[in-house]
Symmetry: C2
Subunit: 476 residues, 2 copies
């Protein structure tokens, strides 16, 4: 009989193998449902190096050259978004009291940091008032005479905005959701109307949030118009460019984000279209002075006149993962990133054409960046949609699409994700497939196979679901 420890270690090796064999194939060219992609190989060796060096970026003492490297990264990203003059950056460099932004574990923490800084700035210290940081929201609203605050964003906002507003103690009821237009961008006319309405009610807008690459459809708000409205009403303008930020590397497509350079703060995820592994995000501040609203100090760490990066971040101890972004920037260069971005957008356009040309699929949202949505809608059902008994048919089509996606996931050959989108034309909420075409390994042949598989699944399910419906419709 084997010894107990032998039994244990063989169990462990079996379990470990199971974990590795059964994880999600995030880098597969057929796994196009989420925001993960295949990654450049050199990152594997870098991951080892970062673990070996095990720097803690909270403090210069525990990260010496890495602190400088991270400051370089912040500069590169800030420059990419805001494109300030060199003297601006050299001045910031000389002044260690402020920061261009900070790295964090991802977009949610970045959005939270932005809203935190905006809140503390709006409700800052004044005569006879120590500021919201010391006295809290209750005293701050009383002092400033605001009946309430408001956060304004389109219906396509990422759920982290809600989470942040909850955490910040403001209550998610202060979020005013503005409908989107036919292009899935915030209705800026309704935004301005809302600003007016709130002003007349003595409700102060804490921030307008623009979306640069919505999670569901990849669309970018009209950031320029939003920035003009924010300026007019003197409120903070935050842009959640977690997905779309990397588009700034593309001379061909960066115009889509026009106006982002007017944002007071911008969220960017390196682990999205900068092709860095989970989890590296960042928040950038147009004016570094904004960072002073969120500083905290401690005796043993984060001394006031240091260069310690931990003074400007929610997180304390933090890994040296930004080295991956630093190296990727040097290896790819802006040109390399532009290639990746352009390819992803053009691949999405190609896929949208494939969908439109197919008889059995319906394109739901056009790709502005590399995200699009569509659904299975065989030719023979399309005529049914415009009949009177819409609701019944719509429910059936939704069911069919949900089931196709589930079956496809279960088969394990390919993967698209699924979301719900309200369709103004039909006046109901559709279940749709959502795909993100960021993986450079995904080619036309993979996309064809994915559609082919969905078509086959759809045809099989059609018999049990929709044929039946067709009959019902005829009898009704």
């Amino acid at each position: 009989m084997p010894k107990e420890s032998q039994v244990h270690s063989s169990h462990f090796i079996r379990d470990f193998k199971l974990i590795l064999d059964n994880c999600s194939p995030t880098s597969s060219p057929y796994f196009i449902g989420h925001m993960t992609s295949s990654l450049p190989n050199f990152l594997l060796e870098l991951a080892k190096l970062i673990t070996e060096k095990n720097q803690n970026l909270v403090k210069v003492e525990t990260s010496k050259s890495f602190t400088k490297m991270e400051l370089d990264c912040l500069y590169m990203l800030h420059n990419l978004i805001y494109q300030n003059h060199d003297y601006f950056y050299s001045e910031v460099n000389l002044n260690s009291q402020f920061s261009l932004g900070s790295f964090c574990s991802g977009g949610t923490i970045a959005n939270l940091t932005a809203l935190w800084a905006a809140r503390n700035n709006l409700l800052g210290p004044s005569k006879n008032f120590q500021g919201v940081q010391s006295e809290g929201v209750v005293a701050a609203l009383r002092y400033y005479g605001y009946k309430n605050l408001a956060v304004i964003v389109s219906e396509r906002a990422h759920y982290s905005i809600k989470k942040s507003v909850d955490i910040l103690g403001l209550g998610i009821n202060i979020i005013h959701t503005i409908p989107t237009d036919k292009d899935h961008k915030i209705r800026t006319d309704l935004l301005e109307q809302k600003m007016n309405e709130l002003e007349s009610q003595q409700i102060k807008v804490l921030t307008i949030v623009g979306i640069a690459g919505s999670t569901e459809t990849g669309h970018v708000d009209d950031l320029l118009t939003m920035s003009i409205i924010a300026k007019k009403y003197q409120c903070h303008f935050h842009v959640d460019a977690a997905w779309g930020g990397a588009t700034m590397t593309s001379a061909r497509y960066k115009h889509i984000l026009k106006g982002i350079e007017q944002a007071d703060s911008v969220t960017v995820d390196a682990h999205k279209q900068f092709y860095i592994p989970m989890g590296l995000g960042m928040i950038l501040f147009k004016k570094p002075q904004l960072s002073k609203n969120i500083t905290h100090h401690a005796n043993y760490i984060l001394r006031k006149n240091s260069n310690d990066l931990g003074r400007f971040s929610i997180e304390g101890s933090r890994s040296g993962m930004s080295l991956m972004l630093y190296v990727s920037f040097k290896v790819f260069g802006l040109n390399g990133y532009e290639l990746l971005i352009n390819e992803s957008i053009e691949k999405a356009k190609q896929f949208s054409r494939m969908i439109k040309e197919s008889k059995n699929f319906q394109l739901i949202t056009h790709p502005e960046l590399c995200i699009l949505t569509y659904r299975y809608l065989p030719n023979k059902i399309q005529k049914l949609i415009n009949r009177d008994n819409n609701d019944y048919i719509h429910t059936k089509i939704n069911d069919l699409n949900v089931k196709i996606q589930e079956k496809q996931k279960q088969n394990g050959n390919s993967f698209v994700s699924r979301t719900k989108l309200f369709n103004y034309q039909y006046g109901y909420t559709m279940d749709v497939f959502r795909v993100v075409l960021a993986n450079p390994l995904t080619q036309e042949k993979h996309l064809k196979k994915i559609l082919h598989e969905q078509e086959k699944i759809g045809q099989n399910l059609f018999d049990t679901l929709v044929k039946f419906t067709e009959k019902e419709c005829e009898y009704n």
Copy 2:
């Protein structure tokens, strides 16, 4: 002349080498000033694997087997702290509406999560009130009729408590800091007095925070007495065991944390004494039901009846780093961790004896875990301390210690950190050396060398600083 791209790549290689060569030697046996350590070698290969697999733990779809693995980790850690019966854990497993806790990037996010959950639980939905999550702090305090909230913690609290209270919109003025006793533990008599006082003022205590391994001195509060007080006043009890949590693996020393099993929430950092690289922390909830106070959902992700881990965390997208903890637990076992913990504590005790035996150093705080503080205080100055002109001498001694630490850091051979501690006996704030003896590579010979180097630096500086002082003292 070389081509432009050649110039660039040679620059890059030079810069990259500079970064690697000049980072902090966090794994060196002489680098005992911070909470980083040398790490087991197998983690390097794991880092590569985790990067290769690039799972996103926000959702089962993007992390399949990793979600299950992480749930196993949460179970192991919860069990380590709370030691519930098996039926408790199988019930939680069956109920995907709650969670035992969540992984995050580090202790700060964990502490923030705990206070967020406590706040939303205290000010939860009720008749005619949607809860603080929806209506915010202003409406919540009004509804519940509290004049204000309070957070109570000892003067040794980590600065992340302040940061969390700021972020949560409560204002750091609500933090009531309780002095510590001669053993650097919270004065529970003063804590109870404060609870009484606040109750009579209609100020509701949101949470008492116990410290299990303070950052500065490594001491552990009397968690049992604190838990009894929290129960008596019916308030949340949070324990920040970011440092000390791993001590629960030690049969010999876990008694130090007695009472932690009564805490409503516990912060533990895997990247501290679980010997995992930056940054992996976790929050554990005694009652999984607490987690429902912080849930957020979204259509495209985090469906209500899923097992998606992202429903219970501040962060959204998150890496599969917990695999490192999973593997370490399997490879080391509890016995392996116990060995590491016991060794670290006993090494600190050994170092404290070395300091006491030396003529030129003064032990300031005894190690309860593996952290201690001391300072340079040559024999010949000791007699001066008790004279009348204390303040002058004390300032000089502080200067001397600050300069020794700076010079030692500059030399680059060894490193201790530095903090300020108020000394009740002398009635003034001392600058002291702080060391963390967690690195298994650090042995007696390294500690001897460190003391020797400090002694030499001290002697050199003594001439310019203290000899002068001695004369002054004599003339005064």
